[in-house]
């Protein structure tokens, strides 16, 4: 499993705009690079990233070759209710990883 680092507030006021940062370890091999022997390395990238807030999608991104290794994605959402945010990265070769982070919303 890849290592992922998610940075977001543990608690927020209702209606507050919160920033979420998600960083994941992944080579993002483009599929165009040759290896040491001149043979093209097969593509191995993350294809999509989705964030769901209590089951409802609040952010999504499509990733492509030429995006850097260890992709970092930062975005904002509105804190509506207490619950969990679920982050899912899907990619080539059956890559799939999900992380969840809890948030407490007051007021």
């Amino acid at each position: 499993m890849a290592r992922a680092l998610i940075t977001m507030p543990k608690s927020a006021k209702r209606g507050e705009i919160i920033e979420i940062r998600a960083l994941i370890g992944h080579p993002m091999e483009t599929g165009y690079r040759p290896d040491a022997n001149g043979k093209t390395l097969p593509r191995d990238i993350i294809r999509s990233f989705v964030c769901r807030y209590n089951g409802e999608q609040v952010f999504g991104a499509e990733l492509h070759p030429a995006m850097s290794a260890n992709p970092y994605i930062a975005f904002h959402t509105v804190a509506t209710e207490s619950g969990t945010l679920e982050f899912t990265w899907d990619g080539d070769n059956g890559f799939s990883q999900t992380e969840t982070v809890a948030i407490t919303v007051s007021g």
């Binding site: 680092l5 940075t7 940062r21 960083l23 994941i24 370890g25 080579p27 993002m28 290794a69 260890n70």
Partner: protein
């Protein structure tokens, strides 16, 4: 009066530290990546290192002997390379980690530049962040530091360039479009954007050597450790930024 002021200013500038870390030569966005742990991809390696610190291998973990790295390893990376009394030569932090792994955990050493070794090295280096580079005042290290210094001023490769010709004589200027830093190693291991990953100081040194078309010594070679020793002496007192981000 004016002459007196000019003299004063000259004395003041002589006394001030003219050394600048590599991060002073990079763009604002790269600096921001280094400043903020939530943006610094090297923190992925730090996370791996922290996990390895606790993992038991043959019944023994790093934490089992050294306990909490946040206290036991504070300032340790700042003191490397250090003299190894058994081998009677200096070892860098990566070599010291592998010595522990082989002798205490009875396991195979990590390969140079492996994710595991760089992870542990980054995790330990982080414990010295903000502290000054503090090379040991060990008499036994002196001849090795002197050899490292000699190598720093030694012209090498088909381009016949020494480290000093770029990093002392032409620091602050550009090599093609890239600024030439002063070559202070106070942020290693670094996440280098060009590498798309974390690498050690030895990787950087070997990079520079192949850049001047010289034959780079293999990882762990004494020449490279000696050069690391000289660089530590040269950067003595500078603030450790590890794990750094570089372009």
């Amino acid at each position: 009066m004016m002459r007196y002021l000019v003299l004063l200013a000259a004395v003041a500038s002589m006394g001030a530290d003219q050394r600048k870390p590599g991060s002073d030569f990079m763009g604002e966005s790269t600096r921001a990546m280094q400043r903020d742990d939530s943006q610094n991809p090297a923190m992925l390696w730090v996370g791996d290192g922290e996990a390895l610190w606790r993992d038991k291998v043959n019944g023994k973990s790093c934490a089992g002997c050294h306990a909490d790295a946040a206290t036991s390893m504070k300032g340790v990376a700042a003191r490397f390379p250090a003299f190894d009394p058994h081998g009677k030569k200096p070892v860098n932090l990566a070599q010291r980690i592998n010595q522990c792994r082989v002798a205490k955990q009875d396991a195979a050493p990590f390969k140079p530049e492996s994710k595991e070794l760089l992870g542990l090295e980054s995790y330990l280096a982080l414990q010295s962040r903000g502290m000054p580079v503090n090379p040991p005042q060990d008499k036994r290290l002196k001849p090795f530091t002197a050899s490292g210094e000699k190598l720093f001023f030694q012209r090498m490769g088909q381009l016949n360039l020494s480290c000093a010709q770029c990093h002392d004589d032409n620091a602050g200027k550009r090599l093609a479009s890239s600024p030439i830093p002063q070559g202070h190693a106070n942020a290693y291991p670094i996440y280098r954007l060009e590498w798309q990953g974390v690498g050690s100081l030895q990787r950087r040194l070997r990079n520079c050597m192949s850049g001047v078309r010289a034959e780079a010594p293999p990882y762990g070679a004494l020449e490279l450790v000696e050069l690391e020793l000289y660089l530590a002496a040269r950067a003595k007192g500078m603030t450790i930024e590890s794990p750094g981000v570089r372009p």
